[in-house]
């Protein structure tokens, strides 16, 4: 039994939504340490073990988890200790995978405007969730920091969690995002998933019969491609359209994506030979056999 649950089956199609919008590999291309991470405004759900295991490639560098730079993080755990000082409140949080301290600075200036952090401001009206309690569950939003050799989280917001499903959902979300970064986006066999990608390529050269089979989901045998390209492909599949297909502007609007991203995704799909341009270069339709 012990060995029984170690082997991972590669079917995780269900929970992929969590990480949408950024590509693995995109994160590593800023070698300058001083460069701030304004471009990386992500909020990543993680476990405390991931926070403790996060890698700092060189001193003062942004932390990385699964080779992707992290910006803001969030996690849910049980509050094991609350220590209130005059300038900050420190929570010790334990989520079963590890323990870390979350430090929330008290800013008297925000006392009347912030209704998200009731702990820092005891006089504020309590939200409907009440206050963070000892041994209760709390969700922490913040940034990973270190002081000396000790890691902690500079918390923007600490709020109580009253629904167990939310705790479980978070753990699954953290799993999904971890898989996104380590194995690629779900759906396409993800390229990174070893055999899956090869099979997809074979299907490309072959009849492409299997394309239609993936009803609802993105076709199972698509070659590895970026998440944006996959979304564009998915939209082209599902959106009602004439045989002229859809214009890039319309796709951008439907997916709420900037035009350059859609254009890049279009190029990717054109190169892969899964779509073709119809009335002009910006209007695309699915290439079906």
């Amino acid at each position: 039994m012990d060995g029984g649950y170690n082997n991972y089956s590669s079917t995780y199609g269900g929970g992929g939504g969590g990480g949408g919008g950024f590509m693995p590999g995109e994160m590593n291309n800023s070698p300058s340490g001083g460069k701030s991470d304004y471009a990386n405004q992500t909020l990543r759900p993680i476990t405390i073990k991931q926070a403790l295991d996060a890698i700092q490639p060189y001193p003062e560098a942004p932390y990385q988890i699964d080779s992707a730079e992290i910006s803001s993080i969030c996690f849910i755990g049980q509050v094991r200790n609350i220590s209130s000082q005059s300038t900050n409140v420190t929570y010790k949080i334990d989520d079963g995978t590890g323990e870390i301290e979350a430090k929330q600075w008290i800013d008297s200036m925000t006392a009347d405007s912030m209704d998200t952090d009731d702990a820092a401001n005891p006089k504020a009206t309590r939200g409907r969730d009440g206050k963070v309690e000892l041994n209760g569950y709390a969700k922490v939003f913040g940034k990973l920091k270190s002081f000396g050799n000790k890691r902690f989280v500079g918390a923007h917001c600490v709020r109580p969690v009253k629904n167990l499903d939310e705790v479980h959902c978070h753990l699954l979300e953290a799993s999904a995002v971890h898989l996104f970064f380590t194995r690629g986006a779900p759906g396409a066999g993800a390229g990174a998933g070893g055999g899956g990608g090869v099979k997809g390529d074979a299907a490309m050269g072959g009849t492409g019969d299997e394309y239609g089979a993936g009803a609802g989901g993105v076709g199972k045998n698509l070659p590895a491609m970026s998440p944006v390209a996959k979304r564009v492909y998915q939209l082209l599949r599902t959106e009602p359209q004439s045989n002229e297909g859809l214009h890039a502007q319309l796709i951008a609007a439907k997916l709420s994506l900037p035009m350059p991203d859609v254009a890049r995704a279009g190029d990717e799909l054109l190169t892969a030979g899964v779509i073709f341009s119809t009335v002009d270069e910006q209007t695309w339709a699915i290439l079906e056999f």
Partner: protein, 122 residues
Amino acid sequence: MSLQTPRILPSHLHAFHPSSTGPRTSHTVRILGTVTALRGDTATMTCGNHGDVTLILKPDSHLQMGKLVEIIGKVADLDNGSGVGIRVLGSTDWGSPADCDYKIYEHVVNATHKLKPIFYDE
């Protein structure tokens, strides 16, 4: 290294038993279930349709019948030699079992054991 408490289902109990061979050093686990019987210093918890677990209570554990509780405890032999149970170290009351979807917990247990790198050390 702080203490880790893997989330489990009753079928995993023996894997965390002190006698089980393996590199595991900790026998402390987390388990979720509904309190279905209270007998003074022991209690029975039903874990969805995964069967029952006997809990060895400590004097200050206040479990209530019919409530969904999350237990943190050590896997231990029962006094009467009737198998394996959990010696309760801490418990969290989550109210009515109807407010939680046990299926999600099953998926969490599955995911946590398949994705050791982000959840638990070996």
